[in-house]
């Protein structure tokens, strides 16, 4: 397994060692989840899955997680997320995404929740095997935050709100008891809100979707039919509209996007290592092809880690964040295609793990915005001289 691409502090190094070790346990459960996405029980005892649930929680809610505090603290940074995502995805990205824990919704809570909402959410997530969801994407509008069609209207009598609409491609949507839903209360960017939704609420329904890969993540369709949202469930109600809904969504999407790149890179490195284990002696021409691909993988990986370090330092460069996510997704597809080719005819029927990762990596193109969108951001960055600055 490859070392980190740049110098990091001792806590980040310790996180890397830890995530490498426990991520390797994901491989076999990953195959099980791919066959049966509901077979979640076998993964709940894995050290990495426990870490995914509790390691990302604020300290008071972390319970008796048996890792040094420094590791858990660095895991909550963007760099820590990148390290964890890469190492866990090296084991199995599906297991990582099927894990209980805060998902992206925890980031929204961190960004805009009031103290009562904060405590209520983290107390709930700290309960054993609690999944959460982050519901932004809609069937007709994708993840275009400005065009959300899910509505939040005043309930008759003024007691809270009614949520109506549909979300699609929501990870763990059909197994989570609680999640964050983005919706529209009023026209314009200030009319976007984030609400906490309890899936026991009348009018809520969730159906798993049949996905090609990352099947353990139980990507789902959610429907809201007059779901009652109490006044205390409107996230950040204590803030001005300009400081909550839309801001919460963008804050999280930018911050977590490098993690998607890291997952794609973890799968890529795993596929390349698998090839080297299965075919230690490649022909000169095949070696050149693999090395050519790895040159690009290591360059994209270095960019990814640098972007994460920059985000932690407060430099959120949307063009560079989008670019590395798009590049990592593309190189992951290229890597699995190459590995299947170099393993020879029948590789995808003889190597079940390879056929799985070959399907899994194609999800990264779709997560957190497609390459088309990120290229537009890169173009804007070029114009503003924030991407490839002179």
């Amino acid at each position: 397994m490859t070392d980190l691409p740049m110098t990091v502090d001792d806590d980040a190094l310790a996180l890397d060692r830890y995530a490498r070790e426990v991520g390797l346990e994901y491989r076999a459960p990953g195959a099980l989840l791919d066959r049966d996405p509901d077979a979640i029980e076998p993964i709940l005892g894995l050290a990495g899955v426990r870490f995914a649930q509790y390691g990302f929680l604020p300290e008071p809610y972390r319970g008796d997680l048996d890792v040094p505090a420094g590791i858990a603290e660095v895991a909550r940074t963007c760099l820590g997320g990148v390290i964890t995502c890469e190492r866990f995805a090296y084991g199995d990205a599906g297991v990582m995404l099927a894990s209980p824990g805060p998902s992206l919704s925890g980031g929204v809570i961190e960004a805009i929740a009031d103290p009562e909402q904060y405590d209520r959410y983290w107390t709930r997530v700290a309960k054993p095997a609690t999944h959460t969801f982050f519901a932004l994407t809609e069937p007709n509008k994708g993840s275009a935050v400005m065009e959300l069609e899910t509505t939040l209207r005043r309930a008759p009598g003024g007691d809270g709100w009614l949520l109506n609409g549909e979300k699609r491609y929501i990870g763990n949507g059909s197994r989570a008891p609680v999640g964050v839903v983005f919706c529209r209360r009023a026209p314009g960017p200030l009319g976007i809100e984030a609400v906490l939704v309890d899936t026991d609420a009348p009018g809520f329904s969730a159906t798993p979707l049949p996905m090609m890969g990352l099947r353990g993540a139980r990507i789902s369709r959610l429907r809201f039919d007059n779901v009652h949202i109490g006044p205390s469930d409107l996230l950040g109600a204590h803030l001005k509209p300009s400081r909550r809904g839309l801001r919460g969504a963008l804050h999280i999407l930018y911050r977590f996007r490098p993690g998607i790149a890291a997952m794609a890179l973890g799968c890529t490195l795993a596929a390349c290592d698998y090839l080297r284990q299965q075919r230690p002696a490649l022909s000169k021409m095949d070696r050149l092809r693999l090395d050519g691909l790895l040159d690009r993988v290591f360059a994209i990986r270095r960019l990814t880690y640098q972007v994460a370090i920059d985000v932690d330092a407060g430099d959120v460069n949307v063009a560079r964040i989008g670019a590395i996510k798009a590049q990592a997704a593309a190189i992951a597809e290229a890597a699995t295609l190459l590995v299947a080719e170099l393993l020879g005819p029948g590789a995808l029927i003889e190597h079940e793990w390879l056929e799985k990762v070959y399907r899994d990596v194609r999800a990264f193109e779709l997560m957190e915005g497609t390459t088309n969108l990120h290229r537009l951001a890169v173009y804007q960055g070029l114009r503003k001289n924030t991407y490839l600055p002179e």
Binding site: D34, R35, T137, N140, K141, G142, A144, E147, R168, Y169, L209, P210, M211, M212, G213, E333, L337, A340, E341, G344, P345, G346, A347, L348, I349, E352, E355, K356, R359, R362, A363, E365, L366, T370, T371, N372
Partner: protein
């Protein structure tokens, strides 16, 4: 391009190709591996492809002529799937709006659809006479079709990753092509 052309699911279409090229039998690749529908290989041990309706078995090798014909047929089938998927993608995009306008009114997407159609047109112009006699040409074409298929699925956004849409058949075309069309070490 005929968007209404009937293509049953990939496993049935693959069985049909087996039947046309090797009546009464199944075509194996050079390593003796066979991919066909679960119904066509009822005795085969279940594999990870069973969920997609495919089984993997073994059979004796066939004359080169049969492999040449079968490989050419696989590419023809793959191309048909791509034509259909592109048409469906355009229907899908036409039904979605952004900022009050159809997504298909965006130049970026128009350009992508056109580029894909040009690639498909180019690939359809490769003479089957050439494909029948040149395994390397068949593999090269397969790789181009894989790239085109992925470009088409990207047009669908996340729904291009649903297993009950075109992604499943295209995945099976990729797996089957990788098994039958990738030349082995002993091929020129």
């Amino acid at each position: 391009m005929t968007s209404t052309e009937l293509i049953v699911g990939y496993p049935a279409a693959l069985d049909d190709l087996h039947a046309r090229v090797a009546p009464g039998g199944l075509v194996a690749n050079r390593g003796g591996q066979v991919i066909a529908s679960l119904g066509a290989l009822p005795q085969a041990a279940p594999t990870h492809l069973a969920r997609w309706g495919l089984a993997v078995g073994t059979a004796a090798g066939q004359p080169e002529r049969v492999l040449d014909e079968f490989g050419t047929g696989l590419l023809r089938l793959h191309r048909r799937l791509l034509h259909r998927a592109l048409r469906q993608a355009m229907d899908h995009l036409g039904g979605r709006t952004s900022g009050g306008a159809s997504l298909l009114s965006r130049q970026l997407l128009q350009e992508q659809c056109a580029r894909i159609a040009m690639r498909l047109s180019e690939d359809a112009a490769v003479p089957e006479d050439v494909l029948r006699v040149d395994p390397q040409a068949r593999w090269r074409l397969h790789r181009r079709l894989v790239r085109t298929g992925r470009a088409i699925l990207r047009l669908y956004g996340a729904s291009g990753y649903l297993a009950d849409g075109p992604a499943a058949d295209l995945h099976l075309a990729e797996v089957t092509g990788q098994t039958y069309l990738l030349p082995g070490d002993d091929d020129d």
